[in-house]
């Protein structure tokens, strides 16, 4: 699913690489937490997977493709198979819940008959049935993140990338979001989630990859948040 082979990423303006010779593999169907302090390289890792950045050295394989050799016009095809969720939700404020989800399908040219069918389905999966015509500012933070997850998941991607999805939410709401991500994972989607939330990581007991200063300092199959010894 994801394979990093001695990947180094050095941003032009910085002395120290954001990722330094990182090698790791994430298998299909896994649920992986990416933890580490700010500036440890989590975001760079996710940006490399989405091919928003290219590695300075090494190879990144995602969904069986060598991203170094992926031509620009094929990048959209890659991203259609990867759902993305962010801390700040990134919803369109002037569109309703259903329109926000439908937008993701409209812009990749799906027929409206297909959109009419799958949008209510995915809204039910994320628990937003009955709120289709609300606007984002009429929803709670947790509900807004559910809309974002619905949008990321509506195209049934192979993989879901979540960059601190609970960062703006209170603990109770976070639990709900985690249950939803867990459910999506059980439907067969690989989930990679970066987080600072120790409680969530400790509860879920899934694979934990800890980054620090651009290095992988810990990779545990059923890990807790903690810190590398």
């Amino acid at each position: 699913m994801i394979l990093f082979d001695h990947v180094t990423k050095l941003y032009p303006t910085q002395q120290r690489p954001a990722l330094d010779d990182v090698s790791l593999e994430i298998e299909k169907g896994e649920f992986v937490f990416l933890v580490g302090p700010s500036g440890s390289g989590k975001s760079t890792f996710l940006r490399l997977v989405l091919r928003e950045e290219r590695p300075t050295k090494g190879q990144v394989w995602v969904l069986g493709k060598d991203l170094n050799r992926l031509s620009n016009w094929k990048i959209p095809m890659l991203r259609r198979q990867i759902g993305t969720v962010f801390q700040d939700f990134r919803l369109l404020p002037n569109k309703t819940v259903a329109e926000n989800v439908a937008f993701a399908l409209e812009v990749i040219g799906k027929p409206s008959s297909h959109i009419k069918k799958v949008v209510p389905e995915v809204l039910e999966v994320v628990g937003l049935e009955g709120k289709e015509s609300r606007r984002p500012d009429e929803l709670s933070g947790g509900e807004q993140q559910r809309v974002a997850i619905a949008r990321a998941f509506v195209n049934r991607p192979m993989m879901l990338i979540a960059d601190e999805p609970t960062g703006n939410l209170d603990p109770g709401t976070s639990v709900g979001i985690m249950k939803l991500l867990d459910r999506i994972n059980r439907l067969g989607t690989t989930v990679v989630m970066s987080t600072h939330d120790a409680q969530i990581v400790d509860q879920m007991r899934r694979r934990v990859i800890e980054l620090e200063g651009g290095h992988v300092v810990r990779d545990q199959t059923r890990g807790v948040y903690g810190y590398a010894q």
Binding site: P76, M77, V107
Partner: protein, 302 residues
């Protein structure tokens, strides 16, 4: 491709950016109107050239008694010289299209007709007017061939090309056309800069939408298409306004003022307007589309 979705995006974009859209429409209209006007002047010049070059002649004036040019030192032209000139002219066919001899009597008749309301007629006698060959050339630009063959020959006082007089006038019109074209060029540059800026603002004001589109894997084409269509649409409206202005120029200035006042010459017809209009439309849309395309490539990267 979902046409209704793209159309609604274009509509939204134009409405949200209304002032900039209006600015683009107006500059496109003004610059294309100037561009069209300069093309119309060019069409007018060529219409007049066709009209006049068909009528202009090279006049070969023959020596008469008292002519003081060196080639007339031998006095009035002799019958032998005249026949030789005629024979030489005949040998220049097919460059020479028509040869027509005008005797002193015919010259006098024409002169009195041309100046019948002027007292000058009283001072001119038949004898004082030179006899001449009037030569119509198949290609009026080949005047030099005739001039070099006959100018300075004994028995020939002067070789005149009416075309040279007309050319001064055409140069004036050509100058006007160049100025219109120059202003149109400057305006088109301004238009391009404005479109670039408009696209930048539009891309910035919709960065939220476009970033989401990128994220969910919309193709570049799909992301840029609404912007391109907006630019092209605004340019098309501007071009239509400019074509309207061109039609107005034709109706009011040419047909309304110039044609009735200057009946001795030809003016451009509607077929010229019909030929220029699509050029304006295509220029406007292509310019806007290209400006938008290159701007977006910079501001909407994958």
């Amino acid at each position: 491709m979902r046409a209704t979705f793209v159309a609604s995006e274009v509509g939204n974009g134009l409405r949200r950016n209304l002032t900039m859209t209006l600015a683009v429409i107006i500059t496109v209209a003004v610059s294309l109107a100037l561009f069209g006007a300069s093309l119309l002047v060019r069409a007018q010049v060529s219409a007049m050239k066709d009209f006049w070059y068909d009528k202009v002649e090279v006049s070969i004036f023959l020596c008469s008694k008292g002519s003081d040019t060196p080639s007339c030192a031998g006095g009035a032209v002799t019958a032998a010289q005249r026949d030789q000139i005629k024979a030489d002219l005949e040998s220049l066919r097919p460059l020479v299209d028509e040869i027509y001899y005008e005797s002193k009597a015919e010259a006098y008749q024409r002169f009195t007709e041309q100046f019948k309301n002027s007292p000058i007629v009283d001072n001119v006698t038949e004898k004082s007017l030179p006899e001449s060959f009037r030569v119509k050339l198949a290609d009026p630009t080949k005047y030099d061939v005739v001039a070099s063959a006959f100018a300075g020959r004994p028995g020939i006082e002067q070789v005149n090309d009416q075309r040279q007089v007309l050319d001064k006038f055409f140069q004036l019109l050509g100058g006007l056309q160049a100025i219109a074209l120059l202003i149109a060029g400057v305006m088109l540059v301004v238009t391009v800069l404005l479109i670039v800026n408009t696209m930048r603002v539009a891309a910035f004001s919709r960065r939220r939408e476009t970033s989401i589109m990128r994220l969910v894997g919309a193709s570049n084409f799909y992301i840029q298409l609404p912007f391109l269509l907006e630019a092209a649409f605004a340019a098309a409206i501007g071009a239509v306004l400019a074509i309207g202005a061109l039609v107005l120029m034709k109706v009011v200035i040419i047909d309304g003022v110039l044609a009735p006042s200057f009946q001795f010459t030809a003016f451009v017809g509607w077929e010229a307007v019909a030929a220029i209009a699509p050029v304006m439309l295509i220029t406007g849309i292509a310019l806007a589309g290209l400006a938008a395309f290159f701007t977006l490539r910079k501001y909407l990267r994958v």
